[in-house]
Symmetry: C2
């Protein structure tokens, strides 16, 4: 793709997808999102972990966090999630592109008041980031839940954009003896490294390579 649509979703309408299945699959693979809000027409954005459950996206933060205070007011937010799959190397710089899967979501936060629901969200979030870990950990305490704000965002106004495949070089460039193709980008979890407290503890099954 040409630089004009280089990861600029608004440009390439043909790449927009609104089906929930695509949107959910991107949200479920990504661990982190960037949340933006505006104050006095000035934008603020911040990266944070999140989890999707049914048609909501959840984040958590400290009851003392300035950012969380702003979001719990229910101000409009834009949540952006991006997975980079490959660099697309064309014969011209102009036709270079990126294979990616992204979601942009407009919503507003609703503060969860019920401890039981907050508890569930923290369980989903923990198990998303480290699969099957929640039941192994020291159980969460009531006061920890109370020190944590959980915000829910409806996933109603969302779109996904994706690019896959090989470069789209200009016809006149195609005969050129210049290498073109893709460089896959892979994000992987390496083997866990214990801290000093855990050197003599067995690595639990859910953390063993290939399990997460």
């Amino acid at each position: 793709m040409a630089p004009q649509s280089h990861l600029i979703p608004s440009r390439s309408a043909k790449r927009a997808q609104y089906d929930k299945e695509t949107i959910y699959s991107i949200l479920d693979e990504a661990l982190f999102c960037t949340i933006s809000y505006a104050a006095g027409n000035k934008p603020f954005s911040i990266p944070t972990a999140f989890v999707r459950y049914e048609n909501k996206l959840y984040i958590h933060g400290s009851v003392g966090s300035h950012f969380i205070w702003e979001l719990e007011k229910g101000v409009p937010v834009c949540i952006s999630v991006t997975l980079i799959d490959a660099l697309v190397v064309a014969k011209s710089a102009f036709s270079h592109s990126v294979n990616y899967r992204s979601v942009v979501l407009f919503s507003q936060g609703v503060k969860m008041e019920e401890d039981a629901l907050k508890f569930s969200v923290l369980e989903w979030l923990t198990n998303k980031i480290v699969p099957n870990s929640w039941d192994y950990l020291r159980p969460m305490k009531e006061n920890e839940v109370r020190k944590t704000t959980v915000l829910a965002f409806d996933i109603d106004e969302a779109s996904a954009k994706t690019r896959t495949g090989m470069p789209n070089d200009e016809d006149e460039d195609k005969p050129l003896p210049i290498w073109s193709g893709i460089i896959p980008i892979e994000t992987t979890r390496r083997d866990p490294v214990p801290d000093d407290l855990s050197r003599n503890l067995p690595l639990p099954v859910h953390l063993q390579p290939g399990k997460a």
Copy 2:
């Protein structure tokens, strides 16, 4: 770290760094940023590739991109860059955290008018994403430069936040026989995959594994 400061930089002032060296090193390692702006107090954000040169961050996009049109007006933007280094697995979910390096930058775009400077930015950007590739590619044409808008953002109001190291479990949790440590996250480039036009072309030196 506790969920309260889980990638919520505003919370953990002790993690804020303002030295240019740290900020530049994060910007130079990351290929993509999320740019946010506000219109009518509603935030909009989008991922895009970028390159830093001296004290400016540059992006490019189509002269026909709605997003670029907004940004070239010089509206305030928030640019967010995040590198994830490790998942920090504590003995309690509450003490889980993430090792990360992030930059948040407030600025506004200035449209580059000179073709020569735009040309240089596109060269820097291309060589950042695929090192040493610019001179190998079909040279950029004047009309391609004219179809591309390049925006420059001063890096004056920027801060970096980083977390490194092992979990900080509560003292009372430390004796628990629960594994704690980190799971390093690595983003790597896999071997290049040629398209149909390039199956019989040699892989140029700059694309050979270990070079990029």
